[in-house]
Subunit: 207 residues, 2 copies
Amino acid sequence: MRVGNLPSIRRLPVYLHILREFRDSGTAVTSAPALAAATGLVASVVRKDLEMTGVVGTTGIGDDVDKLIAGIEAFLGWDNPRDAFLVGVGRLGATILGCEEFRAQGLNIVAAFDSDPEKIGTTVHGVKVLAPAAFTRLARRMHVGVGILTVPNADAQKMTDIMVKSGIVRIWSFAGTVLSVPGHVVVRREDFSAGLAELLARTVVKV
Amino acid sequence: MRVGNLPSIRRLPVYLHILREFRDSGTAVTSAPALAAATGLVASVVRKDLEMTGVVGTTGIGDDVDKLIAGIEAFLGWDNPRDAFLVGVGRLGATILGCEEFRAQGLNIVAAFDSDPEKIGTTVHGVKVLAPAAFTRLARRMHVGVGILTVPNADAQKMTDIMVKSGIVRIWSFAGTVLSVPGHVVVRREDFSAGLAELLARTVVKV
DNA sequence: TAGATTGTTAATCGATTAACAATC
DNA sequence: TAGATTGTTAATCGATTAACAATC
């Protein structure tokens, strides 16, 4: 069974962003062609993507902006953020701790972990930094299911294993390495090297 | 005409990472099946991906590790980094300025720009922060073709227009908005909201 | 009504995967 | 030789796009 394809899910936040602008400028009704124009996609794709959220429009008229916003937010779980632990309070980890907007995007970072004794006990952007030894116990007690991995590549698999053992089922990884996890664990890798490769190597020309 | 597909290009840095580990552990020859095992892909995909780089292996034996490394690096342009300007020295921008590894991945950040007078004139991780007014003149004089966009969403399109006007043809954007650019400009969007949506909404189950 | 847009089906496109002859 | 792997072609799979009847 599948609930939607990945490319569609990735486009939903873009629609949401545009729909909120529409709402803020007083537009109550929109349409697939209008969203297509604003995103650079074609209307068929927009319709397919929105179908996934279960929100239905009115034939001949279009879609209600508020309903669409609520529908997408519900589908993405943004109306009900999940608790997450972050491991690795380096520069990137600290930057992520400072992103308040994630809280409105389904992610509530409740604690951070780092093996550096200098960092343990400090508070970074309002989040307490704890010793890695406490990870498993706390994750289980607080029923935390989401882990953010911002450790150096060399430590990534080791920390992943600890996460999995602790009941984490979704891992947002910023490590460059491929992680091996059991089948029930979802890993989303943000791969800057891949992004850079795509940006610079791209000699792909559409004909 | 096309030189390769995007998914393949995005996988190349992963192969590179593994190949370097192979080399460092004294392995001189590898194979598509071996790389498939290390990445979790299937051998056919590995062969297709490597075909793109032009490196040819030996039937029945496999591929030379050093040749593959050199071939991928050359294909990605990592052996010959391009100069880039970064705009928006906030938390994320500063973090990116601190990523020395980008220099080995084809990207050489030579200057940063920010409209905050407190930041102008300072040096962040070895990179000078300048006033945005100087962007166009410097980009043209130094023939900089790559721009990194780490400004708030509200300023993203405005800065994009300035980049395009200044001769930038590749934009690595960390803004959440859709940017409109002329056809000759390549934009690669690192979309954390999309990543998060994919991570959390994913109820997709492979059957 | 005429114009516009919906939801959905069918056609197209592109990427992944399997298969295999060639060959070390 | 027997086993393994190459490069490449053909089959499969999944996502994008076009088309259209229904309908406001």
